[in-house]
């Protein structure tokens, strides 16, 4: 078939290009200049034990702001395209009532999952994890609530409030960095401590918590829209 042959030729060409790039790449023993700056100065300047967190939140904080904006745009597009089904047709969605065991178990597990998400993004400067991971864990807790109870409606207004407020606070803390510290999204507007203790990294836990709430709210909003689409006629 001509189409598959064409695809194979294209993939073969791409493979050749990749192999050439791989052969020509200089074998490096140490870090690049940017990376060695981040790893050398990162713990001293931001007081964050996790260097990836200091890169994401402080040194490249503007990128993260743009990324959160993209997520907001995606959630808005999806909410715009998938209108909610009418209130009258609600009885159609509960045709498969889930079992007692699943409902009771999810009532126990959903708050624990939310707690785990909050733990992950509050400790983002000390251990692996942070806003994105915590937000995703919160959204998976929302998925469990949906699956256990197909007509689950709680938290819809809370999600919208969290979306707006966390975006506003994120930019607000960034602007506060201009006046109180060295620049936009600088974390030294709050007192810093020793590397490794809980209250150490200035504004990083606050910013990462805001990112976590924002990501969790956006992903939950996307899941709400996907669940509430109209059934196919």
């Amino acid at each position: 078939m001509l189409k598959k042959l064409f695809a194979l030729i294209l993939i073969g060409g791409l493979g050749l290009i990749f192999f050439q790039l791989y052969n020509q790449r200089s074998r490096r023993e140490g870090l690049t200049k940017t990376a060695s700056y981040y790893t050398e100065k990162g713990p001293a300047e931001t007081r964050s034990a996790n260097i990836v967190t200091s890169v994401v939140v402080t040194y490249r904080g503007l990128d993260t702001l743009g990324e959160v904006t993209i997520l907001f745009a995606a959630a808005s597009i999806i909410g715009f395209f998938l209108k909610r089904s009418e209130k009258g047709s609600k009885d159609k969605t509960i045709r498969n009532q889930s079992s007692e065991l699943l409902q009771t178990g999810s009532m126990l597990l959903v708050p624990l999952i939310f707690l785990l998400g909050i733990y992950v993004f509050v400790n983002g400067h000390l251990s692996p994890g942070g806003g994105f991971q915590g937000g995703a864990i919160i959204a998976s807790g929302t998925v469990l609530a949906f699956l256990a109870n197909p007509s689950f409606e709680g938290g819809r207004t809370l999600i919208h409030i969290l979306e707006s407020l966390s975006g506003m606070f994120y930019v607000g803390i960034g602007v506060a960095g201009i006046f109180l510290a060295a620049g936009f999204l600088d974390n030294r507007i709050f007192p810093t401590g020793n590397v490794g203790s809980f209250i150490s990294a200035g504004a990083i836990p606050v910013i990462y918590s805001i990112i976590g709430l924002k990501v969790g709210a956006e992903l939950s909003a996307i899941l709400y829209s996907l669940r509430d689409t109209k059934e196919q006629q």
Binding site: L14, G30, A75, I78, V215, L219, I222, L226
Partner: protein, 119 residues
Amino acid sequence: MIHIALAGGALLIFIGIWGMLTKKNIIRIIIGFSLFDTGLHVVLVGLGYLKNRTAPIVDADLPAKAASSQSVDPVPQAIVLTAIVIGLAVTSVLLVFALKLYQSKNTLDINKLRDNTND
């Protein structure tokens, strides 16, 4: 070790491209896109790996003074961290477009979607 990860990521990218180019079902094309995404992330993280070094987190095993000589490159990890979330956003938008297309045309085959003038 880096060679294995790079080769695996590159092959996964090729599988994704193969799926995007040869399949006709739109959902299948989106699956190919997400495989492409994952392969790209594996290649990026593999490029940042350095032999015999640990994760870039300062703790008992990695004192802050030795961080630049004993940890792997943190920059690709930070990039991939945001790229995964953006990939999820893009995938969900693609899925919603496929769903709306199916609701208006009642098919997912891209060959049958080609002209809509004589409907």
